[in-house]
């Protein structure tokens, strides 16, 4: 029993990173209707920027996170304004190839900027140490991650459900013409949403570096998992993204404990099963 609880918690920690990335992916898709393969790269940049601000420049941890979000948000803005905006109306193939080319470019840029050695930052002092759960040490940082993940979930929910901005986002996600008729400026809305999505991914990346390394190619790895999560949860559905991330994270963790041999493709099995039962994903609408 204790083992199960503990394993579940570790799985939860892993799930939260997945959630943050898939959340950004989902928003970018839900609003702008664009599938951004380069989203994982934004996660990677989150890590690199935190490394730069916190490790190299020795800034305060929270300040570094803030700066990271801002800088990656700017990158997102450039991407949206410069490259994605012209192709919103083009077939998705164009979008995917374009964003995929970004994966290549950003990977090499990261290598030019930070070198090929993967980077990791020292754990902030106030996060060192553990709390005892079922008599086993559980890192405070993981608790913090779980907390942040859930907090973000609530925050995003409030933002989309309660604020005017969120309402107009959902409106334009449903029907752009209608939204613009209501006097919503679609263009700025899209930019805003995309930057927000980028920032969420960056947060995931930033929070990951004290625990994980960041190096060229990380983005590609995380995006695939995020895709699977999104497919499981239902495309363009935040609730789905959250639940999907939990499923993948926790089930994966238990798989590691009981049938480690399947660890590698368990997520694909989950996906296949979900698709078999609910083709549109757990929370997806039939279209």
């Amino acid at each position: 029993m204790d083992t199960i609880v503990y394993q579940g918690l570790t799985g939860l920690t892993a799930a939260m990173f997945l959630w943050l990335v898939s959340a950004g992916l989902t928003i970018a898709f839900g609003v702008c209707g664009i599938l951004n393969i380069a989203h994982g790269v934004l996660y990677m940049f989150g890590g690199y920027f935190l490394f730069t601000f916190y490790q190299l420049l020795g800034l305060n941890f929270w300040l570094s996170i803030l700066l990271t979000l801002i800088s990656v948000g700017l990158i997102g803005l450039v991407m949206e304004l410069g490259f994605l905006r012209p192709i919103y109306k083009e077939p998705i193939g164009i979008q995917l190839v374009l964003t995929f080319a970004f994966v290549w470019i950003f990977d090499d840029l990261a290598k030019l900027a930070w070198g090929p050695v993967s980077k990791i930052v020292a754990m902030p002092r106030f996060f060192e140490g553990f709390i005892r759960i079922v008599g086993r040490p559980f890192p405070i940082y993981s608790v913090f991650i779980i907390g942040t993940g859930i907090a973000m979930a609530v925050f995003i929910w409030l933002l989309l459900d309660k604020t005017w901005w969120g309402k107009s986002i959902r409106a334009s996600a449903l029907d752009r013409e209608m939204a613009s008729a209501l006097g919503i400026n679609i263009r700025t809305l899209f930019s805003g949403a995309f930057v927000f999505a980028a920032a969420i991914a960056a947060l995931g990346g930033a929070l990951s570096v004290p625990l994980r390394v960041v190096g060229p190619g990380i983005g590609g790895a995380i995006i695939v998992q995020a895709f699977v999560v999104t497919v499981i949860g239902g495309l363009g559905n935040l609730k789905g993204a959250f639940v999907g991330a939990l499923i993948v994270g926790v089930v994966g963790a238990f798989c590691t404990l009981y049938i480690p041999v399947f660890e590698m493709f368990i997520i694909y099995i989950i996906m296949a099963v979900v698709l078999l039962i609910r083709p549109q994903g757990i929370f997806g609408e039939i279209r």
């Binding site: 290598k111 086993r136 993981s142 060229p216 404990l257």
Partner: protein, 441 residues
């Protein structure tokens, strides 16, 4: 209007394409043979490849730097028998198909006389497979699968393939032999291994050796980590649930750093039960650099043990001192086995050509078999049967050392005689059989 522009652009593109085609079709004309040089060639071309993209780019780059270092030294001293060395290094992208493509390009188009490098076993095996067709010599300098020397060379008689880096199994076997003596009380082992060849072989050999030495040894938990694992905490907590005394891990490079780091954060090293934590090839620069903070603070309480196929503190030979010094000056980093492998490969080529005094492949192979030459990791010997370099490597613990300010180094070295841990012809039972037997999966 826009149409016009596009038309122009299209024509432009067509021209570019044409040029590209021409470029790629022009066969490289080899330098005219010069009678006075014993090798009948002004330049000896050495082609190499390794990973430049992705998280393991450090390996590919270090090999390139190591080779460059040696080549510059040799060329400065007038080259090999008067012939200068020319070097071209390409990205194999960790893809065998690309590796083969590069090899074909380097030999077929660019005119390479030797091929060196290769990080991934898959790529090395693939390229080795086409060498008989290309009829040039391939020297592996990093990828360590035992299938290369035992299956490809020894069984399948592929005489074109050589390797200067030691094979996978040294990690596992040396650990087993050392710890069985040093910590006989550690009997409960758990493992976190790469979910691919490298991990399988490591664990299988470690189990086998341990069982021989400590009959009542237990392997209480086996977990696996696929490529691109970013979060090892599930593996770690699963392993810790089994209350092990020793933990054997094989993820390397960046992944190795994450694993050790996450183990640290999850209190593995604080746990009194855990006596030993092994990381294979933990001597690589990226691992040591990634861990430098923790090592400086001695967070590991001396429980972290690493191996490497070359440890820069392993001897005081002048060649080693010189190698480390010049490399550190050039790249502000210490060399590790990738660097050393490539560096010694170039010197191997030098010595062999000086002996054979010709570039004729058959003669060169003859000269290479059984060749002994000096490298930073001491004298290496090319075993004739499987073209594998044989040399001693230690295990040890990473520490900060005032003599080496740039990053931690491995000290407190333990050795096992070469005879005892290398596998020898006829290589029975084969690695695959051992893996099958040890990991019932």
């Amino acid at each position: 209007m826009r149409k016009r522009k596009i038309t122009g652009l299209v024509i432009g593109l067509a021209v570019v394409l044409l040029i590209m085609i021409i470029v790629s079709f022009v066969p490289v004309t080899a330098a005219p043979p010069l009678k006075q040089l014993p090798l009948k060639k002004e330049v000896i071309k050495i082609g190499g490849q390794g990973i430049f993209s992705g998280p393991n780019a450090i390996c590919g780059r270090s090999m390139m730097e190591g080779a460059r270092l040696a080549i510059e030294e040799i060329n400065a001293k007038g080259g090999i028998l008067g012939s200068k060395i020319e070097f071209k290094y390409m990205d194999c992208e960790l893809k065998p198909a690309v590796g083969i493509k590069n090899a074909r390009y380097l030999v077929g188009e660019w005119g390479a006389d030797f091929l060196i490098g290769h990080d991934s076993s898959g790529v090395l095996m693939a390229v080795g497979g086409v060498m008989p067709e290309l009829k040039k010599i391939l020297i592996g300098t990093h990828a360590a699968t035992a299938n290369y020397n035992e299956r490809l060379v020894y069984r399948e008689k592929n005489k074109y393939c050589f390797r200067t880096a030691s094979p996978t199994y040294q990690d596992a076997t040396i650990f087993a032999k050392v710890f069985a003596k040093k910590f006989p009380e550690v009997k409960r082992w758990a493992s976190i291994n790469c979910d691919y060849e490298f991990g399988y072989v490591n664990l299988a050999l470690f189990k086998r050796a341990m069982k021989e030495l400590i009959p009542d040894v237990e392997f209480v938990a086996e977990t696996w980590a696929p490529f691109w694992t970013m979060d090892f905490t599930p593996q770690i907590s699963a392993v810790m649930a089994a209350k092990p005394q020793g933990i054997y891990t094989s993820p390397w490079g960046g992944e190795g750093v994450q694993l050790a780091r996450q183990a640290l954060i999850m209190g593995v090293f604080e746990d009194p039960n855990v006596k030993l934590y092994i990381n294979c090839t933990g001597e690589t620069s990226d691992f040591l650099m990634g861990m430098s903070n923790e090592i400086a603070k001695d967070k590991f309480h001396g429980k972290l043990w690493v191996t490497g196929r070359y440890v820069l503190t392993q001897n005081d030979l002048p060649i080693n001192k010189h190698f480390v010094k010049t490399y550190a000056e050039k790249y502000a980093m210490y060399p590790f086995h990738c660097t050393e492998g490539a560096y010694s490969a170039i010197y191997l080529i030098k010595k062999v050509l000086e002996k054979s005094r010709t570039l004729d492949v058959e003669a060169v192979i003859k000269a290479m078999e059984g060749m002994k030459w000096d490298t930073p990791s001491g004298e290496k010997w090319i075993r004739p049967e499987d073209h594998q370099a044989v040399y001693p490597v230690p295990i040890g613990r990473p520490v900060m050392d005032p003599d080496y300010p740039l990053m931690p180094v491995v000290k407190d070295l333990h050795w096992v005689p070469v005879k005892e841990y290398y596998r020898w012809p006829p290589f029975e039972p084969s690695i695959d059989e051992i893996v099958k037997a040890e990991l019932k999966r």
